[in-house]
Point group: C2
Chain length 339, copies 2
DNA sequence: GGAAACACTGCAATCGATTGCTAATTGGTG
DNA sequence: CACCAATTAGCAATCGATTGCAGTGTTTCC
């Protein structure tokens, strides 16, 4: 495989055309394997291109064709500024999205934005670089997303569904999920419940509401809600604070995410509480790591892989100009060891 | 805030120019806030642009200026085809990279490639869409990366360093890391060691070599190596198989990653082995979740955040035309509960 | 009063590939 | 031999923004 000395570097189609003795148009068609050009010339040009390691400039191509093959993935961090992009839920969903999109030949551009104004999403979708966009999580930006969704079709959002909304969302029924978790704790005999989670975004607020509804009207059951950030460094100390506050007056905790549950269990463990015997704990998400901890986490499963598929599918349809409705998936209780 | 009816949509600079009664060039300069255009006209044009929600097409801009502001992040899955992009290590590093890059105003394009030919990296760097590229993990593609690195400067790789290489790598001294883990187990009194990991890629192979070197020459110490894939679905059954094979003839396990360690500990736990009392286990990476499990993981820390910073820093220098050498970070043993 | 310096703005080329239309060649047919 | 259809290739406009250079006013200074 002794590569002969690489021929001069070709930098555009025109040069290749000159070398091949044809016009730029012909080269373009040849490289696109169009039948309009003679099979022989076509192959000759392709061989020449390979030999010189020439690849057409994508920027120019995209400018001309007005399509980029790039999907934007946007993570708005509105009320959760401290949240790191490496949050496991984001990353897991993102990973599945990446798998789906690359499989269908799309590239994928990540933007993490801290919404400082009303324009953050406009900037992204109007940049002319994207065939479509996926927004992960509504944060506290529902209105902004709604406004953009009205005039920009190829947009799909992971998050909650509100009646009458314009945006196309994919997500689970969070209230139902919260209820599932609460009922599991009640079934174990828990009476003094707590909810750990930050209810500023619609998703977690709904989970909390689900818990509320499931416990409403039960005379001997109490429920307290403790705002808990997702930023992982603060989370631990906040949870410690919550547990200080309640002492042992709690026997069941609904956590708004697996990460919160994980940290909660660790701190309970440090303080000598047995999980689930003294305090039962549920998570939410069913991340891959839920099965890997000790005790394994009882949690409300969002089928993230299916969600990613649904998002990409809806987006594809919308890019093609069709309409695609929102998807509301049913959550499922995965009963393991922690509750 | 009753938005007046949105004026007609402006689609390019020329139209805006017509409305503003100036030439396209002036608009371009005004939007770029160049002092060459009169402050008043400049502000008038900017206001007009805002009012119409106009944003210049990035594709055209990039074609013209020959710079994209986009960094490619490439994950080659050579010997690990089954490995999912949502692997926690990838995602953690990727998250930090994203944080670093977005902070410096870069966009970030993700490509996950299953190298089917020798050209996968050429295709990416020659597409004309990227200002630079970061490769996460060498997999079994060291040679390909080396070849591309010779003519493409703005390329930085996460992985092992080999003497005399052309590519700019950032990574820890894997052999030293392996040795740290092994010595920890030996210090605890472990005699019958095992290494769980797939040694096809250079990084894990070196970790294994580090373990070997640390145990070499110790008469009463044994070491067995068990290939263990990272694809998380298979990993569990493979590990179960390994543990079947060794029975209780093992008292210390060096795992090639935290994920492997996590799974190993869970399976040991299921089988009634006490960790670390009967079997001590070490991880590698020190992912955020290492502190969150029970027992907390004793592991060899790669400072992923620092690594990400180093990668982005080297890349920036290389984009600017300077040279940047490889970085070899020293691993550190983080002693927690599992060993 | 005239020349020189200065501040803006416009013109038109450019980045590199794509594609509708036209032109040229070939072959076939009446 | 003339005419038509089918292939194949070239020409030039186009996508939308950027920027060097030239041109027009205006101010300043001698």
């Amino acid at each position: 495989m002794d590569d002969v000395k690489k021929p001069v570097k070709i930098k555009n189609i025109a040069e290749l055309a000159r070398i091949a003795g044809v016009s730029a148009g012909t080269v373009s068609r040849a490289l696109a394997d169009k039948s309009l050009v003679n099979k022989e010339t076509r192959e000759r040009i392709q061989a020449l291109a390979r030999e010189h390691g020439f690849r057409p400039n994508q920027m120019a191509r995209r400018l001309r064709t007005q399509q980029t093959g790039v999907i934007g993935v946007v993570i708005p961090l509105g009320h959760e500024r401290r949240q790191h992009i490496s949050d496991p839920f984001f990353m897991t969903l993102f990973g599945y999205l990446a798998d789906e999109l690359t499989e269908s030949g799309h590239d994928l551009m990540l933007s993490r934005v801290i919404p400082g104004d009303e324009e953050w999403l406009d900037r992204i979708v109007d940049s002319g670089m994207l065939d479509g966009a996926l927004v992960i999580g509504q944060s506290d930006q529902f209105e902004v997303i709604e406004r953009v969704a009205e005039h920009y079709r190829p947009l799909v959002v992971w998050g909650s569904h509100r009646a009458g909304q314009k945006q196309c969302t994919v997500g689970v029924d969070n209230a139902a999920g919260g209820a599932l978790a609460a009922r599991r704790l009640l079934a174990r005999g828990a009476k003094r419940l707590a909810f750990f989670g930050d209810t500023h975004g619609p998703e977690i607020a709904e989970r909390q509401r689900g818990v509320e509804q499931a416990t409403a009207g039960l005379a001997d059951v109490s429920l307290a809600t403790f705002p808990t950030h997702l930023a992982s460094d603060e989370m631990a100390s906040q949870i410690a604070g919550h547990l200080d506050a309640v002492g042992d007056a709690v026997d069941g905790i609904v956590c708004a995410s697996d990460m919160i549950a994980m940290t909660t269990i660790r701190i309970l463990h440090e303080r000598g509480f047995a999980v689930p015997e003294q305090v039962a704990v549920t998570g939410f998400d069913d991340l891959p790591l839920a099965t890997r901890m000790v005790p394994q986490l009882t949690t409300v499963k969002q089928d993230i892989a299916a969600g990613a598929r649904a998002m990409v599918d809806s987006l594809r349809r919308r890019i093609a100009g069709e309409d695609a409705p929102s998807t509301i998936m049913q959550p499922e209780l995965v009963q393991r060891e922690s509750a």
